[in-house]
Symmetry: C2
Subunit: 355 residues, 2 copies
């Protein structure tokens, strides 16, 4: 199959690598000369095209991998130049506005839920989409043949294609991705304001603050587009949060211990429920381990678990303020694996608890 | 010195261990028989007391380490039983209400900013307070001699005692600890509501959601007290957040790209500023590394950095949804150390970027 990738960054580059390695495709890339040189050197593309028209002229499938704001114009340019029997998709994280404006039967909006923590073809990998949900937003006008081709191709890339209507997609993403970014931004702004009143020296801000604000101020070059293009769904989430915050405020103001506990306990069960659903392989179990924070301790733990093939799904280190001691939280998928991990870690002599 | 510790959990147990090991103190503990047996077995206490009165009868310094709601009564009981020449302090994370109600010259409110991620004397350690800020809230009535004794003792435990007025303390903690907990609770509740509308299968919630909600639903046995006792300061922070959310909402509604970018860029610089201040040893530098998520990779990275004594201040693993590949973020203190770490990691063959 002949595949064209417009924009060869992390996502586009990974599509290119996967299409070549897993689908035996011949891949043409379009981007700046510098990026194309890097993509060629990495073995991501067979051919570098100088223009979109040249890239898609004989393509059977095209992926447009550009920032959300650039997509409408770019997708239209691709559709003008692509053959009549060519499926055209994109990888943008907002779908409604884009999809609504394009009635072409060759176009299927798309969004892989995969890697956006780094940028650039240097970080691209052929298995970025292995096991990843890849949302597709077919419309009544969409060609069934072309949709099926795209579906098969995504499956070959390792992804799990899943059809979703654009409005639901945007609402879900607003809740689990865009809103956390908004709240992180608001939290740092609020803390900065509170902590700079008066002359009081600042305390260590601590792990809860660090975790809660990890995504604050994500690159504006990408995020301003996302915020604006999904602003309706994000505003709906903000409105929900405003209401929930006012409710929490009421419970505090009333000094109602039962109401505050219930609110807090609900959050605990909501989070457990949401994160359990996240994994195909079963619930995540958390272990908390007190350790000296010297180099080598994480190595020791990871090696010991690695030796018996218990994999760490997620980890977080909460250092004491001197950075010499701390607590490591590990999330292990599967009850038996977590049990085994806990026994092994206890055997190493570290206090370990499963909260 | 004779030290009594009322409540021998993580914090009380660590005070006991540190007082014995670092200040040569004779330590008496008061708690349930089961906890006292564990504390004795761990070498945390010299003597187990059956009652508060017995524990503090001949003490020169007393630490009350109980949940915030139990403190007023417990501190008063201690003051009734303690000698006239005995300093009495507590370790509660809310100070204003407690301190306002106690005029005794022997009492100094206190709060060490150290380890609350685990509970129980099993996780106690003699160096929990090494380098940690330990807030003290002396009042005009406080005995200068007793304050000085407490200050010296805390210094011996490894802490950095720092006087602060109770209202400022509570406001700072509301901003950097209590508010993040409130927002995490609200975020999971909002996401749970959005994601359970309709029949649409849920997506992977992703690393930004996981980080932002890590402290959601922290144990009500501890947190309901904190929420209620610091509710004035927390409500003020919530009000600040409500205003900032309404402002963000306005910028989105107006679809003003410049205003949204400015808001987002401000968050980036606020966070950098806040986290830079957190460390004594200089700014944290972030590295992002693309790695296969197999057991042993973190070991390899940690070992390599450990070998040259570059310590990892914080780390986070963002796995792809199949858990086989991912991005590791490492935070390294100091520009030179981070530079060195980046070169070493690149030498191992992993794509690494400093965002």
């Amino acid at each position: 199959m002949r595949v064209a990738v417009i924009g060869v960054g992390l996502i586009g580059g990974s599509v290119a690598l996967a299409a070549r390695a897993r689908a035996g495709a011949m891949v043409t890339g379009a981007d700046t000369p510098q990026v194309l040189a890097e993509a060629t050197a990495r073995g991501a593309i067979d051919r570098a095209a100088e223009t979109v028209e040249e890239a898609v002229g004989d393509a059977e499938a095209v992926f447009v991998a550009a920032p959300v704001g650039a997509l409408p114009e770019l997708v239209r340019a691709v559709l003008r130049a692509a053959p009549v029997d060519c499926v055209v998709s994109d990888v943008g994280s907002v779908k409604r506005a884009l999809v609504a404006g394009i009635e072409d039967p060759r176009f299927v909006g798309g969004h892989p839920l995969a890697g956006a923590e780094t940028a650039g073809v240097a970080h691209a990998r052929a298995d970025l989409f292995e096991g990843a949900t890849w949302y597709l937003t077919p419309r009544p006008a969409t060609s069934g043949v072309l949709y099926e081709r795209l579906h098969r191709l995504l499956h070959a890339l390792g992804a799990r294609p899943s059809a979703i209507d654009p409005a639901t997609h945007d609402r879900v993403l607003a809740a689990v991705s865009h809103l956390p970014h908004v709240l992180a931004n608001v939290l740092v702004a609020q803390a900065a304001a509170t902590l700079t009143v008066g002359e009081q020296p600042l305390p260590a801000t601590g792990p809860s603050f660090r975790d809660a604000t990890r995504v604050a101020g994500a690159p504006s070059a990408i995020w301003t587009d996302i915020y604006l293009h999904n602003r309706e769904a994000i505003i709906a989430e903000i409105d929900g949060v405003l209401e929930r915050l006012r409710d929490a405020r009421e419970r505090l103001l009333a000094a109602d211990a039962g109401a505050v506990s219930a609110w807090n306990d609900d959050a605990a069960s909501d989070r457990r429920r949401l994160l359990e659903r996240e994994l195909v392989g079963g619930a995540l179990f958390e272990l908390r381990i007190s350790v000296p924070n010297r180099p080598g301790v994480i190595a020791e733990l990871a090696l010991e678990l690695g030796r018996v093939a218990v994999n760490i799904a997620d980890m977080a280190l909460y250092p004491a303020s001197d950075m010499r001691e701390g607590v490591i939280a590990l999330w292990i998928a599967g009850s038996a694996e977590a049990q085994r991990a806990q026994e092994l870690i206890a055997g190493l002599g570290f206090p370990v608890a499963s909260p």
